[in-house]
Amino acid sequence: MKYYFHRFLIVAILCLLFLSSYCQIYIRGQITDSVSKPVAFGNIILKKDKRTISYAVSDVQGNFYIRYSDTIINSKLFLQISALGYRASIIYITDSQQFISSILNHTSEKLPDVKVNSRPFVRSNGDTLTYNANQFVEKQDRSLGDILKKIPGIDVSEDGKISFNGKAISNFYIDGDNLLDDKYNIATNSIQSTMVDKIQVLERHQPIKVLKNITRSNQVAMNIILKDSARLKVSTHEEIGVGIPDVYDGTINMLSFKRKYKAINSFKMNNAGSDLSDDLASHNLADYLKRIENDAPDPLLSLNSIGTPQILKRRYLFNESQMVNVNNLVNYKNNSQFKMNFSYLHDIQQRNFNSDISYFLTNDSVIFSEVQRSRLETNQVKGLITFNRNTNHVYINDNFQVIIQNDNGKSDFSNSVITGDQWLTQNYQNVSNDFNILKVLNSHTVFEIYSYINYFKRPEKLFIYPGINPDVFNNGALYRNITQTVGTEDYIINNYVNLRSMHNGFLVNFKAGFLDQNMQLPSSISVTQNDLTTKYATDSFRNELKARSFKSYGQIDIEIPARKLLTTFSFPFNYQTINYSNFLHPAGSQITRLYTNPSVQFRIQTPVIVYMLRYNYNSNNDGIKQLYRGFILKNFQQLDQNLAGIQDHFTHTIFGSLSYREDIKLLFANFSFIYSSATNTTIANSIYFPNLVKTSFIPFENHTGNILFSTGVSKYIFSAKSTLAVNGSYQIGRWNQLQQNILLNFNNVKTSLSLSLSSKLFTWISSNYTLRFVSNRIVNIDNSAKSMGTGGDYLKNQLQMTISASDNIYFKLAGEYNSLLQTTSNKINYFFGDFSLNFKLVNIKADLVLSVDNFTNETNYTSFSITGNSLSRSQYMIRPRTVLCKLIFNL
């Protein structure tokens, strides 16, 4: 009973509150003109300070009636009364019940004619988002890349990869033409900021016309619309720079953006730390190779195994590079296109560094120390010829590509045991052809044939003098030198047919094909004694691997739309037969496997928000490239072999994402998580010798897990003329590792946060601030006391200011502050400062730039990296203070 009473009381109180809050009072009145004629359709706004409390419109007799809540205190209330053709008046309210008589005076003043002239920052047209480049460009911006960095929603990473709202772009167009495929860095560097009119982001982009009404695309592409002046004629752009100590930097670009003929041709050379191979970086290569299932072996040998420092490349790269890069596209009638991309790169890179790698083993720890000075010379020729025809009835595309590359490297090294020299030679020849045809069968059905063929060989040789680790390679006797040779040869064919059919939004896709891969991997280690006799090291250092994998595969996809929800079921499966033989097993063995990789995906999309949730189960193996049983000396400290045969992985993955965009507010946000749990049939076992690690893959079932949350928000703040971007991620990983035959379990927690703010404070000053924080912690679960909290924090602060002194002079000041904190050592801080002065020489239409890089003259940089229970500290030599004087002009 008491309970009910309580309940009643609460309800009663709520009712009273509700009623009281809805008590309303009103103001009545009449508007007339100076001759007492009522004024109809006048607007009456009840205001308090600047807030609008309530409003009304007068009726035909000029009467009005404004209601408002009695919680508003009457003081400072006023009525703003206005009507078409009358002068507006303001009447203060003293008493809520009073009758307001307002007399308005006629006015012959007209409202102003207004036309919205300033073009908006961004315009959304369904799937196309068009940014007006003029609103973001500033005087000091030289290239398209400089503009892109400032646009809200668009992110450009340090290697030049462009993403929109967290998703990497799939295609890059210049005035609708795909000149460069995914190698668009040359465009973002070469297209002048003054040439760009608009930047378009194409969501749900489908480049193939026959598929436009038959598939749903989830890709994002970018289209750069140029100004008419940039399209009219072929233009050139030149940069010549010289400086101290002994640096030069030169560029000649020829650009054509006519409707029928597009070209970006350039010649570049420098020794100033700018890596020309970045212009050739293929941003979607990994996705492409995965899609065509070309699981080609990577180079096996190298001079050293240390990573690169986390600072800008131009600070630590000692280079001498020349490059010719030619990209030409011709449009023919009938939507046909012919394209030629050719490049030649000659590159010498030198590196001086010392490093200590500590391995914390169960009973003791091993430290590998080394000092190296290395020089790597690369000659690379790449040629790609593309024919494309893209009409509403048929799509034909053929890419023929040749790559020839030659690397020669030399380094001198010393560690705690030995001082020596090593030479590395790698030759690489690769020919591939990718053919694709899609034909419309009827208005609902499209048939596709795809054929890919690839052949490559890569002979590699590593020569080390004097002989290292005699205990391992020469029965303990000292010897003169050791040579590792590898000759990988690989041949892949992938063919499939595909039938897509769509009825009332339901899409069915059938795919069937086969993939045949043939690989040969002969390798041997030979040892030269001090009396110059040469013999092979023992049989365990030799391979005569011949392997063939034949995979027949099929796939069924079904897409079911239901209002805003799109459900996709996908069921790929393959039957794989692997035959392989090796030096010690010439008879060979055969393995057959059936793999299924089902997935289900839900997607809800509106123009504002897209939700996605996907589950997939994936079973696969690492392919035949890992099947070598004999040891291979990868570098002077690392020996690898595989005793496990085929390496299988079975993975469950759950992926969810949300992306939100509000075009008018220029607000973009995304969130995603990915959880994966994998069972692996093999594991790497590492055995440590003085200055040598032997790693063998052995059969051992183990589990790895990973969960990653990441989020990003980007917003343009109109009042401050600034773009603010915040990104964050949090990752937990767990995995096993075998060391000295002991199983170790690790947990890794990685947090990263970055913030960037680019603002145009006044017309004469603009600034760009970036903050990046990364924290990495690794815990050995079995031995938590020992490696508890092994890890490090890294903080980077970067500020760049551009100040215009006059119309023709501006200067740039940039500072970069890096801070590294290692749990086992002291904090290390670095400050890099750069300065540049830019003169516009109006008479000769040129720019003169005087720049001083690294004026604080830091000479070396230390970085840390942690993997499992190893910790490496590397110290690199970096470029000293450089003064460069550059003349930029257009002929």
Binding site: A40, F41, G42, N43, I44, I45, K50, R51, T52, Y55, A56, V57, V60, Q80, S82, A83, L84, G85, A88, K110, L111, P112, D113, V114, K115, V116, S124, N125, G126, D127, R204, Q206, K212, N213, T215, R216, S217, G505, P561, R563, K564, Q605, T606, P607, V608, E662, D663, I664
Partner: protein, 289 residues
């Protein structure tokens, strides 16, 4: 395409012929003209989002406003052409050979929305021979005015939220223009609505310009016409639905009822079902309220 246009206009002949009632005219002289860009994603279930765009004019008089396509006058030109073609066909008994005057771009919308006395909505549809209209059930929008302000053109605007027929709109209105009107059926704020966007961002009215029109020929909110015929809103909907479900049969049947024997064929040989209009998956009005 030509066929499609002809058919659209033809259907209105039939509606007009069937409707009954007397005309009640609204006449006013426009003082101002506001121009809007109307942007509408009609189908959000499609493979990709494509947008419909039309420049719409709002003519503002002392006590009425009229909202219609900025190309509205071109419909009258086409109507004359169609009348001539029809007369010629009646005389000769041959085929109607009607060519739409503008071969590029979409048809201007034949609908005009009149906000009479800034309280009652009347929808008038222009037709080849006359015009029909119906009174739309008026729903006053209960706007909530927020404190946000923004400058659109030179006008200082206030922000307001309101629900109209199932959609939540965010509107920016200019108290400086003391007219309680706005684009389409959105109105009722103490000032002209210059921009409005619905919460799904599939419907947008964007402000383009505002001008004095007193001396221009476009100064009439609505022409007084004795031939305007009133129909019921429900009848209008039924007719549009019937037309959409099987347009060819609909035209043939109704043409027959007027004594015209008609067989329709398509120009490029596309099957007739291609002309069935899909049901609008993202209608502007979701509910009656």
């Amino acid at each position: 395409m030509v066929y499609k246009r002809a058919f659209r206009i033809f259907i209105f002949i039939i509606i007009a012929n069937n409707c009954q009632g007397q005309s009640k005219n609204v006449m006013d002289t426009a003082v101002y003209k506001a121009l809007y860009s109307f942007e509408y994603i009609k189908d959000t279930n499609k493979l990709s989002f494509t947008m419909y765009q039309e420049n719409m004019a709002l003519y503002i008089g002392k006590s009425n406003s009229s909202y219609r396509s900025d190309q509205y006058e071109s419909i009258a030109v086409r109507r004359e052409e169609f009348k001539t073609a029809l007369a010629a066909q009646k005389n000769a008994g041959g085929n109607i050979n009607f060519q739409a005057p503008n071969s590029t771009g979409a048809n201007p919308s034949p609908e005009e929305i009149i906000n009479a006395g800034f309280t009652d909505l009347r929808i008038r549809i222009i037709m080849p021979e006359n015009a029909i209209y119906f009174n739309d059930s008026t729903t006053r929008i209960n706007w909530t005015i927020a404190d946000d302000t923004a400058r659109i053109g030179t006008f200082l605007c206030s922000k307001a939220y309101g629900v109209f027929r199932g959609r939540k709109y965010t509107a920016w209105f200019a108290p400086q223009i003391p007219i309680s009107a706005g684009p389409w059926k959105l109105a009722g704020l103490p000032g002209l609505i210059l921009e409005a966007v619905d919460s799904s961002q599939t419907i947008k009215f964007r402000f383009l310009s505002f001008e004095n029109t007193s001396f221009s020929p476009k100064s009439i909110v609505n022409v007084k016409s004795e031939s305007d015929k009133q129909i019921l809103k429900t009848d209008y909907r039924k007719m549009v639905a019937a037309m959409a479900s099987d347009p060819i049969k609909y035209i043939e049947t109704l043409a027959a009822s007027r004594g015209i024997k008609m067989t329709l064929s398509t120009i490029n040989g596309l099957p007739a079902e291609n002309f069935k209009r899909a049901k609008n998956k993202n209608p502007m009005e979701i509910s009656e309220k």
